[in-house]
């Protein structure tokens, strides 16, 4: 018997969509462990988001404190570890977001827990499948510590659905807060009206072959026509053509939309690691020998300068005909 402490990130009064993947995992884990799901919300605004969390979990714990105005792994980790112990958790989980990846291993260290990162599935209560070698292989690992820490890959878990009745919300004290000398300085936020890369149904990505940031405008037009998120290769983000948080790949975002456009992207394994799970992949590249064509369902050998405007007008025609 053991409970699942599922760390949930939120955005204003609602959970981030990424948290729903974690809650879906947590439900399956709770069944395997014979315990219940406890959603944990930590930080400024946690109380306000607790009602939304209660739709998905039978129990919600809120930790809000003036000393937690900004996320810091140093201050959050001891809280999560303590609550794991106090609530009989045998699994502590988070989604493999920037925050989940930063925080959970630190929690694991405090709990002496073995950890499985970025899991794709759970095959037994202590056994997990996770991609290794840049997504070139899948490893099944068994972890033998009494408490196990897990981050889940958002694209591999269907979002949790609402429960019939609202869960019970309780608050917990933060306890002594010590940032160990670390301070939050600022966040240079990248604002966008487009859907989140992580859960967009369509993603349009551009690579080095786009040559300049200005040239991405035409891809953005395509994206907006399709309600898509924008993505990019490392080469395009490194060159400063587009914001770094557009990067798709092993070290960027992992995406698995219904439809993925790779435009002027060669298809290096690190890029493929981030988008191979997409349902339909379209590659547009002027060089027919590029590896991107090996994963593409539909390949078009063409220069984007010509192909993308034509694609936009053909899609407009299609939409008009419906």
């Amino acid at each position: 018997m053991g409970n699942i402490l599922a760390l949930c990130e939120f955005n204003g009064p609602t959970l981030r969509s990424s948290a729903l993947a974690n809650l879906a995992f947590a439900r399956a884990a709770a069944t395997a462990h014979g315990g219940e799901v406890i959603a944990l919300l930590v930080g400024a605004g946690a109380q306000a988001a607790s009602a939304d969390a209660a739709k998905y979990a039978p129990k919600v714990i809120v930790v809000e404190d003036a000393g937690l105005a900004h996320y810091l792994a140093e201050t959050y980790a001891p809280i999560v570890a303590r609550l794991a112990n106090e609530n009989g958790a045998t699994v502590v989980s988070a989604t493999a977001t920037a925050q989940g990846k930063d925080l959970l291993p630190r929690v694991a260290a405090l709990l002496d827990a073995g950890m499985a990162s970025d899991i794709a599935s759970m095959t037994a209560k202590d056994t997990f499948v996770r991609p290794i070698l840049s997504g070139n292989a899948l490893s099944t690992v068994q972890i033998s510590t009494p408490i196990v820490c897990v981050t889940v890959r958002q694209t591999e878990f269907e979002p949790a659905t609402e429960l019939g009745s609202a869960g019970a919300v309780t608050t917990a004290a933060a306890g002594a807060i010590d940032a160990l000398g670390a301070t939050f300085d600022r966040l240079d936020a990248q604002k966008s009206d487009r859907p989140d890369l992580g859960d967009a149904k369509v993603v349009v990505s551009g690579g080095r072959g786009m040559k300049t940031g200005e040239n991405f405008k035409v891809l953005e037009e395509l994206a907006d026509l399709l309600g898509a998120a924008m993505g990019a290769s490392r080469a395009a983000t490194d060159a400063g053509m587009v914001p770094a948080d557009w990067q798709v790949g092993q070290t960027g975002k992992i995406v698995a939309p219904n439809l993925y456009f790779a435009v002027a992207i060669s298809g290096a394994i690190q890029h493929l690691a981030g988008m191979k799970g997409s349902k339909t992949i379209v590659a547009i590249n002027k060089n027919k020998d590029e590896p991107i064509f090996q994963v593409a369902d539909y390949g078009l050998v063409a220069e984007w300068e010509k192909a993308i405007p034509e694609l936009i007008s053909e899609i407009k025609k299609l939409k008009a005909s419906r």
Binding site: M115, I132, N136, L138, A182, L187, K279, I281, Y298
Partner: protein, 274 residues
């Protein structure tokens, strides 16, 4: 400033993965220094040196690697890049996991008392992305993971770290000592500011520096201490056991389409994606 850089040697990720007896077959594999660790060595060098004239401020860069005997070759590569000395804890890769590595690093840190630990954010064999955060947690030190930029304060007592997070770049200040894990863009032309390298200096290239011939010669004489897990209070008792490895199912073969109208038609009718 004394900087400790943990480095791991990993199979070159561009090789095709092969399976034998349910695990990755590494016979005949080619090996590299984990790319992010190479970036960490580069970062440590940039923290200490004047990039414009190649002189180095007082300080020391110690690389530490826990891995098989053969890994000595990759460790030498980091010495050839410019690290000063190495500690090689010899063990089989199957005998270690993140917690074992952390235990060894903790004991080395207790003895060496570095001002900073700079390491890769992830080893591209297991892609775990754990050791840095776990180490910081165990040490009770602050951490700055996924560093894309670093700025050493004038008094050398803290660093301002730019971290790429969901939705933007977060700037976090961490004291000395702390653990920093580096991301790709740390090797950008102006990503590391140490107050010595002139602001106008641009580092070139997209990655870490290649060892120079002089560096390779010098590396042969640099000290490399070897030891065993037991010498560092650790034992071969991993809590994570790999039961099996499989290759993901290949994607069904795709098709090359002749032109844009055909593409749109197929996306709409065949893939039902539009």
């Amino acid at each position: 400033m004394k900087i400790l850089v943990p480095v791991k040697r990993v199979p070159d990720p561009t090789q095709k993965a092969k399976i034998k007896d349910g695990h990755i077959d590494l016979t005949g594999a080619s090996w590299i220094v984990n790319t992010f660790d190479e970036y960490a060595v580069e970062t440590a060098l940039r923290l200490l040196e004047n990039g414009a004239d190649g002189t180095r401020a007082a300080g020391e860069i110690i690389v530490v690697s826990i891995g098989p005997e053969d890994a000595a070759k990759e460790i030498r590569t980091t010495l050839a890049m410019g690290a000063d000395r190495a500690i090689h804890v010899v063990t089989k890769d199957s005998e270690i996991d993140a917690l074992v590595v952390v235990k060894v690093l903790q004991s080395i840190i207790a003895a060496e008392k570095p001002d900073l630990v700079v390491m890769g954010k992830q080893a591209v064999d297991g892609d775990a992305n754990q050791v840095g955060q776990m180490l910081a947690g165990k040490l009770g030190w602050a951490q700055a993971t996924f560093a894309a930029t670093l700025e050493l304060a004038g008094d050398k007592k803290s660093l301002l770290v730019g971290r790429e997070v969901d939705g933007g770049v977060e700037y976090k200040r961490v004291p000395v000592p702390s653990v920093i894990t580096v991301d790709l863009r740390i090797v950008g032309s102006k990503s590391v500011k140490n107050g010595i390298t002139p602001e106008s200096h641009n580092y070139s290239g997209e990655g870490a520096r290649l060892p120079s011939l002089k560096g390779i010669m010098a590396a042969k004489k640099k000290p490399m201490v070897t030891g065993k897990l037991g010498d560092y209070g650790a034992e071969a008792a991993p809590v994570i056991k790999e039961l099996s490895v499989t290759l993901p199912p290949p994607r069904a073969a795709g098709q090359i389409v002749a032109d844009v109208p055909t593409l749109v038609k197929k996306l709409a009718d065949e893939a039902k994606a539009l």
